[in-house]
Amino acid sequence: MTTFKTTYNRRAFLSASAATGGGFMLGFSWLASCTAAEEQVAMLTMPEAWFDINAFLKIGDNGIVTIYSPNPEIGQNVKTSMPMIVAEELDVDWKNVIVEQAGLNTKKYTRQVAGGSQSIRAGWDSLRMAGATARRMLMEAAAKQWQVPVEELTTDAGFVKHAGKNQSIGYGELAAAAAGMSIPQEVALKEAKDYKIIGTNVKNVDGPKIVTGQPLFGLDTQQEGMQIAMIIHPPAFGMKVKSIDDTAARSMSGITNVFTFTSYPEGIEKTWSDANAFPELVAVLGNTTWEVMKAKKAVKVEWETISKAENTADHIAGFEKTLSEKMEVARRDGDPEKAFSAAAQVIEKTYSAPFLGQSTMEPMNFFADVKADSAELSGPIQTPENMRKTAALALGLPEDNVNVMMTRMGGGFGRRLYGHFGIEAAMISQKANVPVKLVYSREDDMTQGTYRPAYMVTYRAALDENKNLTAIHIKGTGIRESPVFENRFPAGAVDNYLVEKTQLDSNISTGAWRAPRSNFIAGAEQSFLDEVAEAMGKDPIDFRLELFDRAIKNPVGEKNDYEADRYAGVLKLIKEKAAWDKETPGVHRGVAAYYCHNSYVAQIVDLVMEAGQPVVKKVWGAVDCGIVINRDAACNIMEGGAVDGIGHALFSAITFKDGKPEQENFNNYRLIRHGEAPAEIETFFVENEVHPTGLGEPGLPPVVGALANAWYKATGERKYHQPFMAEQKVLG
């Protein structure tokens, strides 16, 4: 049994006697009346009294346990999986667990962020400790009651037991006494082999509410006296509001206010998550959404140009120019120039991908109720702490007087890391002196993006006369961000290695998009390696395994950001599970593997030709994310990653003309639809006891490469420029 010093985030435990959770929900009628808690409790018996044990849980006098999920839920299922970890160490029957979303509380929780697939990895210790310390306190309460040494006690699914005396007592009966116990200095943690909840299939705690349409999302917020607010933003990047004529709009039914406002007042300190192209906006307020939508069209706005109107054609030309010039060298191993000049064959390929929207199905929105001395914010936000900080500065209020509540998010994918919409809601509420729900139309959402940057990268490989790989050269660029990770594979596996990178400036706002940079570079890299393997006459998996073998036995360079044996592990697993060595007539296969956000994924795409078109039949996935918390949910997110990766690689692009996004809605921005998704997706996990890592992002990047490689097998055509289904270069 491992022990764990309870120093980590100790403040969460020291404040145990303070009221937890529920208080933050007051004031929101739907949250108060329809919490996940109450719905589940309908099937359970409500306790007469609750006892706060620590910031993560309280125990009812009848043994029902409420566990607070600290992190924002964007569909990655942490609202289920994080409490599972607490419940495991608490040793309670999951049937008796109620889950509630915690509010933002930096005094009690650390890293209340949904981003980088880090919730589980970063929460692993504190979640286990929350459960384990509570369990220990319950045991100590029982030991005191029974007058026995605590070491003689065990627990089992919500009961403390004494085997010798054949005694058993429920957590509910011990909760009052346990709440008064001092916090243990050290606690025992379970061995992975003893897990009863972790590693099983636990259903989404919000599932019943989702399938019955109960209010859950920010856009569902209703409050007495609340007004609907919408914004008008410039039609193109590089423009700002000059003047407005709101005469017609103001006279329309249900319209209460129209004004221009600044969401980021001059001089306030911003965080990285305040990225935003349009700090000055027009607000239209009214009684109902439809009335405001109509009035928006009646506001006459004069715009002025403040910076260059950009075009996609210029972006492509800019990339091509910069790729032909020298760039900043990010990594150099051996003597790549010499290897290339001595090469018998050089393979050079250029890959590109366009801007993308995050396209959360729930458009941006936020509720704000700003009073003279306080502010209540609520809505879908991946970075609530940053939002509170900026909102306090923008509103001129002390941070302690600004409360941020996280609603379940109708998707995030990086878009809701950038919480300008919450600041906008707050500023509108302050200026109009009413509670408001700010609602973005789909067009607002799509044309005021923090887009996935457009990228272009050139890969070169040198082969000697014996077809040995002697050097790799990578040169990458992108709008405001290079896609290149210089210390990722295949760095470390090739003697002569050169990485160059640069970025181009732009007035188009860009940001994180599910698996930033990896979402593009994995596909490029894995497509390129496929082509190199073919030139070398090698099987694509064998070729990669040889590279990993080199990186394990004799790594090149000082810093390689991956564990080669785990990387090879997922490839070996997928090779076996998908029976890679066995050919099936009519099935064309491509493989890829990638490591990002601390998890390893290998995928195989099976394509068939139907009516002359390649059709994805099956995606096979192998994952090493350490201990799997919620097995079926992990499969679900891997399936989503595969569909999402394939869909965007095939269909999606945001392009610009005169600074204006040419796509505004789902009629001309293509997302993958039902009939285009793979018929089957099967996921396998490497079974180990490595501390768990996240899956929100790692399931997406490699599938793009596997798709491109399968496409080549099926059609003989290599795909270099996304979206693959575009007739010609979009970007490219």
């Binding site: 299922n77 019943p208 959404t289 439809w290 729930e362 109708g410 998707g411 039902h674």
Partner: protein
């Protein structure tokens, strides 16, 4: 503004709204039935799917003035106890990720099964084509529809 009599989930309602107001916003803003979701406003994503006399319709593009006496069913009225075969199948397959599009998916799926109790894969693809899921739960949705079809 004008008064409209509506039959929503077997209950009569009268609303005073502009005739061009889409049913979506009548449901969400006037009747506080927020299970029907706004996704695109142009009948391209399916998040707002409801039933009009049992047939799937995109409520964002149906003006209240065109509904007449047709019975409106929303996700909240699909079943009394969350026990419609499609809802049960959705839970069984643990379909949702973010969950935002799922009410629309369920309404499209339940309308499909009403019209075609044993749909083929192709039937499902056609009927569900208008419902986007950005999280990519399509494989589970199809499996859940098949489970629901079997359970009828």
């Amino acid at each position: 503004m004008a008064n409209f009599d509506l039959l929503v989930n077997k209950q009569k309602h009268q609303v005073d709204v502009d005739p061009d107001t889409p049913i979506l916003w009548v449901l969400r803003d006037h009747l506080n039935l927020v299970g029907t979701k706004y996704g695109c406003g142009i009948a391209q994503c399916g998040a707002c799917t409801i039933h009009l006399d049992g047939v799937a319709a995109r409520s964002c593009s149906v003006p209240v003035s065109s509904v007449g006496g047709k019975a409106i069913t929303t996700i909240e009225g699909l079943s009394a106890k969350a026990d419609h075969p499609v809802q049960k199948a959705w839970i069984e397959h643990d379909v949702p990720q973010c969950g935002y599009c799922q009410a629309g998916q369920i309404m499209s799926a339940s309308a499909l099964l009403k019209a075609n109790p044993n749909p083929s894969d192709e039937d499902i693809d056609v009927a569900m084509h208008g419902n986007i899921c950005r999280c990519g739960t399509y494989v589970r949705i199809k499996a859940a529809i098949k489970t629901a079809a079997m359970s009828k």
